[in-house]
């Protein structure tokens, strides 16, 4: 897995993504597109492509950061409950501030995601038995608790079915003007690049990082902040995409090893490529209908994750 293969692959897939869809846009026809066709391209297809790339990059990077900070390959926004907290946050925003704007939703979701992730890290500190498998188990159970709370409120307001439909990750509603919040991921990914080495050191523990002269708490907080913001932004605009932050870093790490500086660009690129493939497949498989990305990644992601788990013995222990 080399950058020189990943970049062309990404470009190729991006082009395919632009020209696949219900409305017929053919790349060979681009010189005599009608105005309507140009509009489709610029208002719908291009924003969709951008959204996919940003989500793919930022979620994978967020997953990688969490794995470094916890020193556990099976921790990610999905398996630490971050996703569930963000979802609860959106629901609270909608119930408390009637007609909440996207910005407000994002903010509340972010607060919940951040709080939830801090709670998870707190719990991790308290658990004596830091088994590779046990840690994500705790996170997932924590996530179910949060979900029970979400369900409680959703039931009260008769929102269960509509909540499901918002939460199911989907790019089909991405249009120019309603996805730009995702851009927030770009500076965060850059910060992640700058801090990459420090995350690795912080992951080795408080004592270890302090003896290397690193402000452990600060690094930890920056990392969790990045993760929470990215997760919240994605959940608010796209919905939940399970396992993406988990499998991408794992696949890259199998192929490239664990030095964060080394694997970060690959993780980012591969995340975008993987999500693009899932999205294109989702659009093509039951054409002219569309399988939502949440389901596509859910199916492919869980299959891949199971595969990783089953071959874990030779790798993550």
């Amino acid at each position: 897995m080399k950058i020189k293969y990943l970049v062309p692959a990404l470009i190729l897939l991006s082009i395919i993504s632009l020209f696949v869809g219900v409305q017929d846009l053919s790349i060979w026809n681009i010189h005599n597109f009608t105005e309507e066709q140009w509009e489709t391209l610029l208002i719908s297809r291009l924003p969709r492509l951008l959204a996919i790339i940003i989500v793919g990059v930022s979620l994978s990077v967020a997953g990688l950061i969490m794995q470094q900070l916890t020193q556990n390959k099976f921790v990610s926004p999905t398996t630490a409950g971050t996703l569930d907290w963000a979802r609860l946050g959106i629901l609270v925003a909608i119930i408390v501030f009637a007609g909440a704007s996207t910005m407000e939703r994002l903010f509340v979701a972010f607060l919940f995601a951040l709080g939830g992730t801090f709670l998870f890290m707190r719990i991790l500190e308290r658990i004596r038995y830091k088994n590779v498998i046990f840690v994500p188990l705790v996170g997932l159970m924590l996530g179910s608790v949060v979900n029970a709370v979400t369900t409680f409120f959703a039931y009260q307001y008769d929102l269960i079915q509509s909540l499901n439909s918002w939460m199911q990750g989907s790019f089909s509603l991405v249009l120019r003007g309603n996805f730009e919040i995702l851009y927030i991921g770009i500076p965060l990914v850059i910060i992640a690049f700058i801090f990459a080495n420090r995350f690795t050191v912080a992951g080795m523990g408080r004592d270890f990082s302090q003896s290397l002269g690193l402000n452990y708490k600060q690094i930890m907080n920056i990392g969790l902040l990045i993760v929470a913001v990215i997760t919240a932004a994605v959940v608010v605009t796209i919905g939940s995409i399970p396992f993406l932050g988990l499998i991408i870093p794992n696949i890259v790490s199998i192929m490239r090893g664990d030095n964060l500086r080394n694997s970060l660009p690959h993780t980012a690129l591969f995340g975008a490529i993987f999500l693009l493939i899932c999205d294109i497949l989702g659009r093509v498989l039951i054409y002219p209908y569309e399988i939502p990305i949440g389901l596509m990644v859910g199916v492919i992601g869980s299959a891949l994750f199971l595969f990783l788990l089953l071959r874990r013995k030779s790798y993550a222990t």
Binding site: I123, S144, V145, S302
Partner: protein, 318 residues
């Protein structure tokens, strides 16, 4: 048995009997006698059966996983149940509920859930050094997968039809079908018979694998049988009343806090009693105080979940 244990048992028994009596007779008019009483009686029977099955299966599950903060509900059986119910409505519409009698639906759900659990076990017990946490994680991943599929279908379903799925999403002890009740009792009794000779191993199993093997327990065989029993018990409970994820976790841990012993005979009785008190008390609260504003399982999950976080933060002696 210690004095304290006797006291606690006495209190729990009195509490459950008085709660059950209240539940049966509260606001009962002479005209409702014929109709309401048998109906409430069925609810009580379902509560006792489900409460016991869940408490017991969670207790043995915690023993064989050597962990107090786990519950068998997390291996994905709940999600599978919801997937089956959703798929029925998705493919057959509300008609599906006509095609499939409650008995057929009930048995089919149980068979699927138990088969899934067995498949999971088979997948993971191929090798020699099995890790039960590993099993759980794989179960949860399957659960997420089932969840994704259910959500996909649920979003596409007509809102009216969704209502019938939503009713199944929450455990309910009202409107219990008598035939299903008997079926459940028979299945659970057979299961109990199947596991009975192994119960004596439970106290020793709690010492962990190495000690258990050293003390002459045919470990792998015993664990497998317990896992099968857990799968059956959880499946029957879920198919009878619906999923209540955190009930077992809540009641077993409350029982452990109250009873200072490692003996499973005591712990099992304690957990079952706590479970009955929680369910009957919870149903009364939901019906009389909250006027059905939310299903019982939501409350139980809420309280159980909060308790779970408390256990985690306290840094359990796991």
């Amino acid at each position: 048995m210690q004095r304290k244990t006797k006291w606690i048992f006495t209190i729990l028994i009195i509490l459950s009997i008085s709660l059950i009596a209240t539940f049966l007779f509260i606001g009962l008019t002479p005209t409702g006698w014929d109709y309401a009483l048998p109906r409430r009686g069925r609810s009580v029977a379902a509560i006792i059966i489900v409460g016991s099955a869940i408490a017991f299966s969670t207790l043995i599950f915690q023993t064989i996983t050597n962990n107090r903060i786990l519950t068998p509900s997390i291996i994905g059986l709940d999600s599978l149940y919801m997937l089956i119910q959703t798929a029925l409505v998705f493919f057959f519409g509300t008609l599906g509920l006509v095609f499939f009698s409650p008995e057929a639906n009930f048995l089919m759900s149980i068979v699927f859930m138990v088969l899934f659990a067995l498949l999971l076990y088979a997948l993971l017990f191929r090798g020699e050094q099995q890790n039960i946490y590993f099993l759980l994680l794989v179960g949860i991943v399957f659960g997420t997968l089932f969840g994704s599929l259910s959500t996909f279908m649920q979003v596409l379903i007509d809102p009216n039809e969704f209502q019938s799925i939503q009713n199944r999403m929450f455990a309910s002890f009202s409107n219990i079908n008598v035939d299903l009740l008997w079926l459940s009792i028979i299945i659970l009794l057979l299961t109990l018979l199947y596991v009975f000779p192994y119960l004596k191993y439970l106290d020793t199993l709690a010492l962990g694998r190495d000690h258990a093997v050293n003390l002459g327990i045919p470990y792998d065989k015993v664990i497998r049988r317990f896992l099968v029993v857990i799968a059956i018990m959880v499946s029957v409970s879920t198919a009878l009343v619906g999923p209540i994820m955190f009930l077992g976790l809540l009641v077993v841990n409350v029982a452990r806090e109250m009873l200072p012993t490692f003996r499973h005979s005591t712990l099992a009785i304690g957990s079952i009693l706590v479970s009955i008190v929680a369910l009957v008390g919870g149903t009364l609260l939901v019906e009389r105080v909250f006027a059905f504003s939310a299903p019982l399982s939501v409350f139980i999950n809420f309280i159980g979940g909060a308790y779970f976080i408390y256990l985690l933060l306290r840094g359990t002696k796991n």
